[in-house]
């Protein structure tokens, strides 16, 4: 059987999505047998772009012109383009201060030097190219990555999740940190799939998987307000991973 040809590229990000794949220590040997990671600069040399890929997995958001080019090239050459992680899906942490003026932020770091002056407010992949599927998370869950890859073997894209973190949190019969501990838990507004990782260890969900479909922000803000969190603080928290949240 012909191996599936995969490209894995990182744009503006922390390499965590790629590392999540390399962290599948038990499965990596099988993965390397079943897939041909033809373009995977983080783990394979040289970085050669082939004509065609069965799928390109792209980590990170776009904040520099050369990233646009690479992304478009990958799109052109790939049957499926899959956004890996919350940065690629929503913008992620890098987009935390979108709207505050990129140049100002840049100067806060680099002063008056023109270094990196082509940087712009980070944008998610789908604002530039068609994205066939998203595996979100900061970092994504190994299990989801592996399922996505296994699905590709059968020509299938992952089935989207439509429930929030709370659903899985309740399935695990956790104490609810929002209702019982008055904590700013973003579970109700955040896409599930992580098995409520954080609340299961009594740590409020920080929203690392981005917004759940049909998130009811208006009512959630009411509930948070009853617990003593003002709206701007909540929106600020939400924007840690997704600049789309607005009052």
């Amino acid at each position: 059987m012909k191996k599936l040809r995969i490209a894995i590229a990182g744009l503006t990000a922390c390499s965590g999505c790629q590392l999540s794949l390399l962290n599948c220590e038990d499965e990596l040997p099988v993965l390397l047998e079943m897939f041909d990671f033809q373009f995977f600069p983080m783990a394979t040399s040289p970085a050669l772009l082939a004509d065609e890929y069965d799928a390109a997995l792209v980590e990170g958001c776009i904040s520099m012109p050369h990233e646009k080019e690479l992304l478009q090239e990958l799109r052109r050459r790939s049957r499926y383009l899959i956004a890996l992680g919350t940065c690629a899906a929503c913008g992620g942490v890098a987009a935390l201060r979108n709207g505050d003026g990129r140049e100002l932020l840049r100067q806060q770091v680099y002063g008056h030097s023109p270094v990196a002056d082509e940087t712009f407010d980070p944008i998610p992949l789908q604002s530039l190219v068609k994205v066939d599927a998203v595996v979100t998370g900061c970092p994504p869950e190994k299990e989801e990555l592996l399922r996505m890859l296994a699905g590709l073997l059968r020509g299938a894209l992952p089935v989207g999740i439509d429930y929030p973190v709370c659903t899985e949190c309740r399935m695990r019969e956790n104490l609810c940190l929002l209702t019982e501990r008055d904590a700013l838990c973003l579970g109700p507004l955040t896409l599930g799939g992580c098995g409520a990782r954080c609340p299961s260890l009594s740590v409020p969900c920080e929203g690392c998987r981005g917004p759940v479909p049909e998130a009811n922000l208006v009512e959630a803000l009411e509930v948070y307000a009853q617990k003593g969190f003002d709206r701007t603080a909540v929106i600020g928290r939400l924007r840690r991973f997704c600049p789309e949240w607005k009052l």
Partner: protein, 410 residues
């Protein structure tokens, strides 16, 4: 881009950079590392955020070293707000950091660097040609991740490490299991040591670089930078490192006081505190033999992790809840050793505990000067060699520093 186009970036390193050969009259006279990673501007991102958000944000600088970034940021915030942590919290954090050290070193040795020594392209060919070697490395790597998961809740971006404590204290049973796994990895470790320490360096020996490392605490922790000749307390570390903005790199470059650049990382740490039994492996401390230093540190990290687990189990795990931090004005500076070298996190907070300034200095940023010096030396040593050969050697040299470019640029 045409079909099958080569993208001129460094491979098998974390992040995006290129090496450029400088030619004069058809002859390669120097090589330059360009870190053109897209900056996320973390030092600006943290501004305006409440103190309790800083560690969660800062750890996203890099995935491979997310635990140490998290801990460094936690310490800085705690210092600023005068939060004291318990012994148990300290031990657990240290354990997590050692887990990160194991994971990072194993990844570098077995997935990123070893292919150079075996003449293969990376993990893909390694899996085909030397499956046992790869799997041995992966088993060790997995242990590092297991430690991070057990303590931090997740291998990357460990959320369970909080200001003042942990979300949930790991169960004794989990630590007991860790203890068993740590013991079980010794076979693989011993075999890896034999194998890695026996490999011939790929590059000619290069002159030893001045070294610097964090000191004054348990392994990888401390409150000062030391070099063979001086000691720099944390408070003046940033000034001593003296970061400057240069045009060709998106990472600020440490200029020190204008003297020769210092090197940080495993080789620097070992040079300054070499356990006697490993001295024999370092006839010189050329960066060409950094793989060995990393292997030895991997061994040391597992040993240290064992001690920590034993201490925790001996103490008996207590169900502590995090110490509550009161928001307020303050500044905190934290120095640590990340897998690739000295790391500094420093934050200032206003009266409401909102961050007004942040400064993060990372190992690869510090190492840029050292890398430049070694590259130049390597090019001179290889005088007369083919362009492609030099290019390849420079890439190997850069990998010897195990650069973490996301960290450097952040």
């Amino acid at each position: 881009m045409n079909s099958s186009s080569k993208i001129d970036i460094l491979t098998r390193v974390e992040g995006h950079g290129t090496v450029k050969l400088v030619r004069e009259g058809g002859k390669v006279v120097d090589a330059r590392l360009d870190l053109h990673e897209s900056p996320r501007l973390f030092e600006a991102l943290v501004v305006g955020r409440r103190f309790d958000e800083i560690p969660d944000i800062a750890c996203r600088i890099c995935s491979i070293c997310s635990t140490v970034h998290k801990v460094a940021a936690l310490q800085a915030v705690e210092q600023a707000l005068a939060v004291d942590i318990t012994r148990q919290t300290g031990l657990l954090r240290e354990l997590a950091v050692q887990g990160g050290q194991i994971e990072s070193h194993a990844l570098h040795i077995f997935c990123l660097a070893l292919p150079d020594y075996l003449g293969v392209n990376g993990v893909q060919e390694l899996a085909a040609h030397e499956p046992e070697k790869l799997q041995m490395g992966l088993r060790i790597k997995k242990l590092g991740n297991l430690i991070q998961e057990t303590v931090g809740g997740r291998a990357i971006h460990p959320f369970n490490l909080l200001i003042g404590g942990l979300g949930t204290i790991p169960e004794a049973l989990k630590l007991q299991q860790l203890k068993e796994k740590l013991a079980a990895v010794h076979g693989d470790l011993a075999e890896s040591c034999d194998y890695i320490l026996d490999l011939d360096d790929l590059l000619p020996p290069l002159a030893m670089l001045p070294v610097c490392a964090v000191s004054g605490g348990p392994p990888l922790f401390g409150d000062r930078l030391i070099t063979p000749v001086e000691t720099v307390p944390a408070a003046s570390a940033a000034a001593w490192l003296n970061e400057q903005v240069l045009l060709h790199t998106h990472a600020k470059v440490s200029r020190f006081d204008g003297a020769a650049p210092f090197m940080v990382g495993p080789l620097a740490r070992l040079t300054l505190a070499m356990p006697a039994k490993y001295a024999q492996y370092f006839t010189n401390t050329s960066i060409s033999s950094s793989l060995k230093a990393r292997m030895i540190e991997l061994q040391l990290a597992v040993e240290r992790a064992q001690i920590l687990v034993d201490q925790l189990l001996d103490d008996g795990l207590k169900n502590e809840v995090p110490v509550i931090a009161a928001p307020g004005r303050g500044q905190g500076i934290s120095l640590m050793e990340a897998p690739r070298g000295a790391l500094l996190h420093s934050y200032r907070f206003d009266n409401n505990g909102v961050c007004s300034a942040g400064d993060i200095i990372t190992p690869t940023a510090i190492n840029q000067g050292a890398i430049a010096v070694s590259l130049k030396e390597l090019v001179i040593a290889m005088d007369g060699a083919e362009y492609e050969q030099i290019k390849k050697a420079t890439e190997i040299l850069i990998r010897c520093f195990d650069p973490c470019i996301s960290c450097a640029v952040h």
